[in-house]
């Protein structure tokens, strides 16, 4: 009680006022306006001046004093926002459209969107290409020197890395795909199955039934 009365005689020092504003802004669940601060502080206090001091004090620190509308509040420094999240990694399979688009780019690079669409026979959605770009599996190649100068897509080193390839040339060719049974979905005539048709290359367990 007497403490409160004492406070009314002389306004607290600026340093003390700074402590007060600091504590109030820290503890308040909402930003506090100048008026809020004044109402809570002893008479004669000058929160406006103190806010400026405090703002400077927190400059470059992990939290900053920011203005939110009429209010003032502490907030995490934007460059540290990444500390405020925890990552949960979820593995998902690529959509069929994405994997096909990726395959076409890998086999035909550099390739334009129109060419991809021609090969797939359907339009390529923007999302599909964006997804592959975001995964850093494809990137823009040089523009094609044809009318409209369309951009081309090529696969990246990240792509090669992910698929365990030294270069895009290491991708199995059409002949190998055929030999691997990937191009032909009907069983080959009996006895004609190529010797290197090992389980590793075989698409599904089904053909393994017929392995020696």
């Amino acid at each position: 009680m007497s403490e409160i009365r004492d406070r009314q005689f002389a306004p607290p020092s600026l340093a003390e006022q700074e402590r007060m504003v600091e504590a109030m802004l820290f503890a308040s669940p909402t930003p506090l306006s100048l008026r809020d601060l004044t109402a809570r502080m002893p008479p004669g206090a000058d929160p406006a001046e103190v806010l400026a001091l405090l703002r400077r004090r927190y400059e470059g620190r992990g939290v900053r004093l920011v203005r939110v509308g009429e209010g003032h509040a502490f907030r995490t420094a934007p460059d540290l926002a990444w500390l405020m999240q925890t990552e949960r990694v979820e593995t998902r399979k690529l959509s069929r459209a994405a994997i096909e688009t990726l395959a076409i780019i890998a086999y035909h690079q550099p390739v334009t969107r129109a060419e991809i669409e021609e090969i797939r026979g359907v339009a390529v959605s923007r999302g599909t290409v964006d997804q592959l770009l975001e995964l850093e599996w494809i990137r823009f190649g040089q523009r094609r020197m044809t009318p409209g100068r369309p951009v081309t897509y090529v696969v990246t080193d990240t792509f090669l890395d992910h698929f365990g390839l030294e270069s895009a040339r290491d991708l199995p060719g059409l002949r190998e795909l055929r030999e691997a049974g990937l191009l032909d979905n009907r069983p080959l005539p009996s006895g004609l199955r190529p010797a290197h048709d090992t389980a590793e290359d075989a698409p599904e367990g089904q053909t393994e039934l017929f392995e020696d």
Partner: protein
């Protein structure tokens, strides 16, 4: 705050006057404010106005017993705890008053009294500690946490996986689109394990001796290599199934040697 405890009344005073009755009732009503017999003892001990270490346990026991008698006179039911304590204190009192019995190996009256004094001191100490604890600055009252916590956001990062095989299959699918049809399993050339099991169950009865597995393939499956492989695999799987069931035995003398089976003797 509870009112001061009335002077102990000796058990002989059985006819209390109105004033005494009222005083006693006030005391009894207050019983419910006590946290058990130890608390009551602690309160009674304060009337001695001495340090708990120098308290007269004998006097305390008498005060307590008087209190309990009073409650009885007023037909107030005391909880078992209070009565058991009363019995114990009556025993303690007799131990303190009578000369020690040399044949008694138990603790002396003084030891028991010292322990009771210790319990009272300890309870008192805990009360003071509790008061000190509650007098401390407390979170949400005297000091505060951040009022606007910035929640830790759970960010879901999706990692897409695709294998080289997926890629190749996807490409193959596109390149063969015109002739693409969903993979249909060609049943004509597949000999199933169920078929083989059925066949073996029929034959096993005759196989007292070792028989080469291949001899048991159905004849119509032997000519075509693909069909023969399927039949071989199915028959082999079927024999394993039968061996598991304890119906046949299997042997192979060497790697890649013919696999032989016979009915389990």
């Amino acid at each position: 705050m509870r009112p001061p405890v009335a002077d102990p009344v000796s058990p002989e005073d059985r006819t209390p006057g109105v004033a005494e009755r009222l005083a006693a009732e006030a005391l009894i009503v207050d019983v419910e404010g006590f946290e058990g017999p130890l608390d009551l003892l602690l309160t009674l001990s304060r009337t001695q106005k001495v340090d708990l270490r120098r308290i007269s346990v004998l006097q305390l026991a008498e005060q307590y017993l008087a209190f309990v008698n009073k409650a009885r006179a007023l037909r107030i039911e005391l909880a078992a705890d209070y009565l058991v304590m009363a019995a114990w204190l009556a025993y303690l009192k007799s131990r303190l008053l009578l000369p020690p019995d040399p044949s008694d190996a138990g603790p002396s009256g003084e030891e028991l009294a010292a322990h009771l004094a210790y319990q009272l001191e300890r309870l008192q100490a805990m009360r003071e500690a509790a008061a000190q604890l509650m007098a401390r600055d407390q979170l949400g009252r005297d000091f505060f946490a951040r009022g606007l916590p910035e929640d830790l956001r759970q960010v879901r990062r999706v990692s897409y996986a695709a294998s080289l095989l997926d890629l190749m299959q996807a490409y193959a699918r596109i390149r063969t689109k015109d002739e693409f049809r969903p993979y249909a399993f060609d049943r004509r050339d597949v000999y199933t394990m169920e078929q083989a099991l059925e066949r073996l169950r029929g034959l096993i009865g005759f196989a007292g001796d070792w028989v080469d597995l291949l001899e048991w393939l159905p004849q119509e499956w032997e000519a075509d290599p693909a069909r023969r492989r399927s039949a071989t695999a199915a028959t082999f799987a079927a024999t394993l199934e039968l061996a598991k069931g304890g119906q046949v035995e299997i042997k192979q003398t060497d790697t890649f040697a013919p696999i032989q089976i016979r009915r389990k003797p």
